[in-house]
């Protein structure tokens, strides 16, 4: 077996009395596309926050590509190759779509060349290539405020991809998106991830999306991983159904 790209061991964190992570062990292999499911408050987003440096676990360790990244600041983790997208897309609303992506493309270089245009030839081309990959070329010059939710989600993910990550963590890429759009969005982003050979983890509530796209699914419950394996097997496990799917029926058939 190849060495895992991301490896979490014994992660623990609590907010007040609530254990959002209570001994999380999780390995992500290179090239995997892993879904994290579980009821609200199970600690799914907390895992993303700990892995990307937004939260420091109270105990436990996270290794990325063999190096310890536990508790490092977000900037440093981004530079090592882990990017994330957000449940609520974090776009700069004063910027156009292409500028949003270009800012992140430029984040690799130096920000302090006062008279260099943001959209110089190289940056604009790199940003445009990403927009085309994500089917966003048509809205390149639209303001971020003019977009619908699905487009905002894709832009947010394209921005994360502009950081050229090896691992991408996505928090509910299809939440808030019209039901008819969700497979289109997932097809687009899975194709882009495969083309760039990016490993990805995504938090998801929609079981149709999980079954259709994930290589593996990890079930979260009260800060612990209840089950992990191929979607077909995990999603038919009675314990999982009781713990997660029961609560999620509304979403599964939405």
């Amino acid at each position: 077996m190849t060495a895992p790209l991301l490896s979490a061991r014994g992660l623990k964190i609590a907010f007040g009395g609530v254990k959002a992570a209570d001994g999380i062990d999780l390995d992500i292999a290179p090239g995997e596309f892993v879904a994290i499911i579980g009821p609200n408050g199970a600690g799914k987003t907390t895992f993303i926050n700990m892995t990307t440096g937004y939260l420091r676990p109270h105990s436990g360790h996270i290794h990325f590509d063999g190096a310890e990244i536990t508790g490092r600041p977000p900037r440093s983790i981004v530079r090592r190759g882990i990017a994330r997208s957000f449940q609520i897309p974090q776009l700069f609303t004063e910027h156009t779509v292409i500028e949003n992506v270009a800012l992140k493309v430029a984040a690799h270089g130096r920000f302090w060349r006062p008279f260099r245009p943001l959209l110089d030839a190289g940056t604009a081309a790199a940003a445009m290539r990403l927009l085309e990959q994500f089917g966003l070329a048509g809205v390149a010059t639209a303001r971020a405020t003019e977009l619908n939710e699905g487009t905002r989600k894709l832009t947010d993910i394209a921005m994360a991809m502009a950081l050229r990550p090896r691992l991408l963590l996505m928090d509910e890429p299809t939440s808030g998106v019209a039901s008819a759009e969700k497979f289109g969005i997932m097809d687009t982003l899975v194709a882009a991830l495969r083309a760039e050979r990016v490993t990805a983890v995504f938090v998801e509530h929609d079981m149709e999306v999980v079954e259709r796209y994930a290589d593996r699914v990890a079930v979260w419950s009260q800060g612990k991983i209840l089950a992990s394996g191929p979607p077909a097997a995990v999603l038919s496990d009675p314990a999982v159904l009781r713990e997660v799917i029961g609560v999620e029926t509304g979403h599964a058939h939405a």
């Binding site: 937004y54 900037r75 981004v78 800012l103 920000f111 260099r116 245009p117």
Partner: protein, 300 residues
């Protein structure tokens, strides 16, 4: 009557240009750092004093007419380049997360200290230089003989500043980074932007602009203690009327207030001082966020 009105308009344009230079720095700093900097008036005054001192020295050299204008820019860069970073790092960086009232008090204290520094260095006698005005000579506009300095240079510098800043903030990488930090500091930091450097750069640019405003004013007005107070109060009026953080808006309200004031000078001198504030109060009563301000949306 027509002649007087024409003269009032020329004076108003030149005055608006000077006020804009100070107001635009104030509004830029507020837009990015969210600090209303009372000490901004001191940068104007010190810029003027240093320009007058350098100008007087330059006038005594053989290259007097050639040096007269570059000296103004040099003074602005010297004052802004030294005071800006020093004050931002040593004082403001410690109070970004504090309450607005405390920030206002701290910058007010800075203003008082810098006011005394001016008196210690330059005394209380009026200081004046006219090198730059003489270097550019006079022009005839209709029946009026006017200085080219006030007719062309002041409005020209103000317009160049306006368009330069708009281009910088909208098109350049550094400008877009500044806007991104203004909008969402956390998200910008997460992608590798150093927000502290953005603050340092913005404050320094704002300080240089205020000092340039003072340097440009030094040949048209006598520098006396209190000149900084007048300018900061007037700039506040311009910035508040336009809407805090509004750069293009600051230009238009500077024109409105500059012209209003100079028309008052010629036709109703007793109202000269209050006209800008009457305009401000009238606007804010109708539009509390200023002419161009939107409630908590756009800041630069």
């Amino acid at each position: 009557m027509t002649l007087l009105l024409f003269l009032a308009i020329l004076d108003g344009l030149a005055y608006a240009a000077q006020v804009f230079m100070v107001a635009v720095g104030l509004t830029l700093i507020f837009g990015v750092l969210r600090i209303l900097n009372v000490a901004h008036g001191s940068f104007f005054a010190i810029g003027g004093y240093v320009a007058a001192t350098l100008g007087t020295w330059a006038a005594a050299t053989a290259a007097a007419p050639v040096l007269a204008l570059p000296v103004l820019l040099l003074a602005a860069v010297m004052v802004g380049g030294v005071l800006g970073p020093a004050i931002e790092r040593l004082v403001l960086a410690r109070i970004y997360t504090k309450e607005h009232v405390l920030q206002l008090l701290v910058t007010f204290a800075l203003f008082m200290i810098l006011e005394d520094v001016q008196k210690l260095v330059w005394g209380v006698q009026p200081i004046f230089q006219d090198g730059p005005v003489r270097a550019l000579g006079q022009v005839e506009v209709g029946d009026i003989i006017y200085t080219a300095y006030q007719l062309y240079l002041l409005p020209g510098v103000a317009l160049a500043t306006l368009f330069g800043l708009m281009w910088f903030l909208r098109r350049t990488l550094t400008g877009r980074v500044i806007v991104a930090v203004t909008e969402d500091r956390e998200a910008a930091t997460a992608m590798g932007i150093d927000a502290n450097r953005v603050y340092l750069l913005t404050f320094t640019v704002g300080t240089v602009l205020a000092a340039l405003g003072g340097a440009l004013a030094s040949p048209t007005t006598s520098l006396v203690p209190g000149v900084g107070v007048n300018m900061i109060v007037l700039s506040f009026a311009v910035v508040a009327t336009a809407g805090l953080g509004q750069i293009e808006g600051a230009m238009l309200t500077a024109l409105l207030i500059g012209l209003g004031r100079s028309v008052a000078v010629y036709f109703a001198p007793e109202f000269e001082v209050v006209i800008p504030y009457i305009i401000m109060v009238a606007v804010l009563l109708i539009r509390p966020h200023g002419l161009f301000g939107r409630p908590e949306l756009r800041r630069v």
